[in-house]
Amino acid sequence: MPDTIYDLIIIGAGPAGLAASIYASRYRINHLVIGKEPGGQAVEAHKVENWPGTKSISGFELTQNMREHAAGLGAEIVMDSISNISRGGDFFDVTAHTAQYKTKNIILALGMEYKKLSIPGEEEFKGRGVSYCPTCDAAFFGGKIVAVVGGGNSAASAAQLLAQYASKVYVIYRGEKLKVDPAYLENFSKNEKIEIIYNTNVREIKGNSNVERIILDKKYNDKDDLEVQGVFIEIGSEPGVELVKQLGVEADDQGFIIVNPDQSTNVAGIYAAGDATTGSNKLRQILTAAAEGAVAAASVYKKIQIS
């Protein structure tokens, strides 16, 4: 089998990876995009209303457009997950589930992964009452009682959406005060279906074939369990960077890959872009992810020209 050595492999097929590919194609950089989830987290956004030039578009449609744009410029996009990256002399060996690749440079566009509660029952009842995607699953909970775990905007948006279907929505938050936009608070105070439980953690999710109740670490209305049929976990995301620790890529104390203004990391030949980096003041928007992807591709181009 002939051994192709790519000039660049982009790992991740969300907005950062796809924008990097669009720029790489225009720079005529011989590259490959490998992603496990085309579109990344942006796919789940119900509406994106801050992408300049497009007033309102679904996350799926926007990322689909990006994918078509990248593919249309000739990008090779492979859907696969990476199990290992190692350095082999002047190259990096990238091992995916089904194939192995060699490349001179890498752009890590790894994105974020949903945080889990890591409590008993969470994994067991995934898809049987436990959900991480309110826009996908809210409609299955018509007339049911659900809990949203979390206290930020994503939890608030989940509660608001769920209240359209469910008979009751508990928002369970470990803190004293929700960290949400004022518009959500106004909505909550008017919505009789939504009830907020503060200073409380969920200890366990219980049921038989489906979720039936949750166990709280503190009594609420004199009981430490709560009857619910759904649990929506909205406690934020963390960078999906497990893969690169062994390469010696430096991350900050929250796990974000430390990047320079040109999106390079501390490892020569490895660049990073998008939500998983310390770039763009960690604003973590589709717009900033795409911008970082463009900068990373330009930096790779510069490096190739010099060498």
Partner: protein, 104 residues
Amino acid sequence: MAMQFTDQNFEQEVLKSDKPVLVDFWAVWCGPCQMMGPIVEELAEELKDKYKIGKMNVDENRETASKFGIMSIPTLIIFKGGEAVKQFVGVQAKENLKEELEKA
């Protein structure tokens, strides 16, 4: 092309199929499902001789979705001999599904 399964044809096409069947439970409002769609189409094309592969819109076919307790989409189920033998929740990589079908 991926088959379209419905409440009406489910028993005949899925439960009574002589080949293992992969069913992708999906809905139009679900972004990750839209992402899964093309992967299922590709699998259907590549593996059409060995397996039956298709999609079921849960919004239009509530009976079957509720019978199998679908509460999260995309959910993909592999059926063999009328039984659900493997279930996946969330977007799955094509190769992973291929491997699991081969094991079925």
